[in-house]
Amino acid sequence: MCFIFPTVGPKMNHRDSVPRHTAADYTICLAGNPNTGKSTVFNALTGLKQHTGNWPGTTVSQTRGLYQYAGKNLALIDLPGTYSMLPNSPEEKIARDFICFGRPDVVVVVVDAACLERNLNLVLQVLEITPKVVVCLNLIDEAKRRGFSIDVRRLASELKVPVVPTAANRGSGLDCLKKHIWNSASKKIEAWPNLVQYPEVLECSLQQLEVELTRISLNGLSKRWVALRLLEDDKAALTLIKHYSTLSTGRWVCNEG
């Protein structure tokens, strides 16, 4: 339906051959709009050299890397860029499926500090799926240069999740990011994020549905998120939810693209 300038054909990278089940204590994933520097953050944290580029579609499949923190192995998954948790392309579907059904311990949402407004949509959508979110306010140097000044504390207290300003290309803010990822993964700090409040009539229906949903096992999926999909009659998502919630293992290996 629409695409973003400038367009260059998707570059396939074949790092998918990296085994997915290497021993990791925690699984962390990086999500965010296209072109916010997810792969730069990924490379800075893992020391890998995943291809990065200033155009959409650079990362077309999930890429995996490892890093250590506090003596533990953390697996980092770099997801393709997405505008929405309602996927519109195969890449967006990979991102959505992993966040919903891949059971990451923490979702790091990388946002472009210079286009914060349009990036927060995704943050709010991810928060409906999981409270275990760290917002990485990337490209903060670029935002400053363009004359933006961001009240990081205020943003964090409005969302009620950690917000870490970074300039991943220069390596600044990464220690702080690692610390917050760790705090969230190891459940040192539990977040109760501020969720989008819908009009009264919707909230009433959501509440009723959530009560009904307590009767069935959702394998850890957020009741509110499932209730929202039911209200929207999102058939594609409901099929996946049905499939996932009847799995006994509770961890669904993401589709291979």
């Binding site: 629409c2 695409f3 973003i4 300038f5 309602l86 349009r118």
Partner: protein
């Protein structure tokens, strides 16, 4: 929109001008997609370029340039913004 008032959509904007989103005609998943791209009522968008064949057309939406098909642009009602 009152009787006699011109219906003005993103597709009617002259190149280089800006408009404020008033209403989206699209429904269901198309509507969600447009909202996800930042076409939320109250947002000011600018028509920045046109492809050689006139379709799609590109708009600056909240700091990013997004191309829309003409048929989709025609479903987004705007008010012209004077600068």
């Amino acid at each position: 929109m009152g009787l006699g008032q011109m219906i003005y959509t993103l597709a009617d904007m002259p190149m280089g001008t800006a408009g404020m989103i008033m209403r989206l005609k699209a429904q269901s998943s198309t509507r969600r997609r447009l909202l996800d791209l930042g076409l939320v009522p109250g947002t000011v968008v600018r028509y920045v370029r046109q492809s050689p064949l006139g379709d799609p057309i590109a708009f600056d939406i909240r700091g990013a340039v997004v191309a829309l098909r003409k048929v989709d642009a025609q479903t987004v009602f705007v008010d012209p913004v004077k600068e």
